[in-house]
């Protein structure tokens, strides 16, 4: 059984520490893949001075746990972890971190991308951007839906 962890939090995180924690107490790993997402300064040509990340407490955690469980069914993972921030964020700040470990690199690379693609389209988070032109809710992107669909097609 893979070691799974989900954290939804306001405070920043240290990717190095998270990677160490992912590996703590195990010795089978030959590979770790991680992804860190940041707040962009410009999004769709609009300036962003800050962002509010809203979520659905309870469902968010369940949804990410379900994605991690699905990833462990598809690949032989040793550990998988997601940290996602909520509340007010400014450009350049870290928003999300995904870390996956496995014996060989293929499973880690694929699972890390899979988890991120499903998180983007399934986990109940919503971004509101605030900039010089006012504030607006970010619209979902078809490209994100397409990326998640690729995995369903490869089942």
């Amino acid at each position: 059984m893979a070691n799974l962890a989900v954290s939804v939090q306001e405070h920043d995180f240290d990717p190095g520490q998270l990677q160490e924690a992912l590996l703590a107490g195990a010795s089978e790993e030959g590979a770790v893949a991680t992804f860190t997402g940041y707040v962009r300064v410009n999004n769709d040509d609009r300036g962003v001075s800050r962002m509010m990340m809203e979520h659905y407490p309870g469902m968010t955690e369940k949804s990410i746990e379900s994605t991690l469980n699905e990833a462990t069914q598809r690949w032989p993972l040793i550990a998988a972890s997601v940290v996602h921030r909520i509340g007010e964020l400014t450009p350049g700040e870290r928003i999300v971190w995904v870390g996956v470990s496995s014996r060989h690199r293929g499973a880690s690379f694929s699972a890390c991308e899979y988890i991120m693609d499903y998180l983007k389209t399934n986990a109940p988070f919503w971004k509101k951007e605030i900039g010089p032109d006012g504030e607006h809710w970010v619209e979902a992107r078809d490209t994100d839906t397409d990326r998640a669909r690729r995995w369903a097609a490869s089942e």
Partner: protein
Amino acid sequence: MIRVLFFARIREQLDCASMELEWSDAVRHTEGVRAALIAQGDARWEAALLEDNIICAVNQQVVTAEIELSDGDEVAFFPPVTGG
């Protein structure tokens, strides 16, 4: 009783984060809840709740078809997600 939650743009459009509907035959399924919400609100509610891409979740699981509810269930309406 059915607890109803709204998030993000929908919450702002309705100026409402949550409400409770008394348990009755009218709210025994998700479409009944939607109809009851539209009936108790002004035109904003109809516009928001009949949007094509609005997502409905029951007990924190997305549902894509009408489903039956039980007393005490939690129903949420929200726009497509944009995390990560």
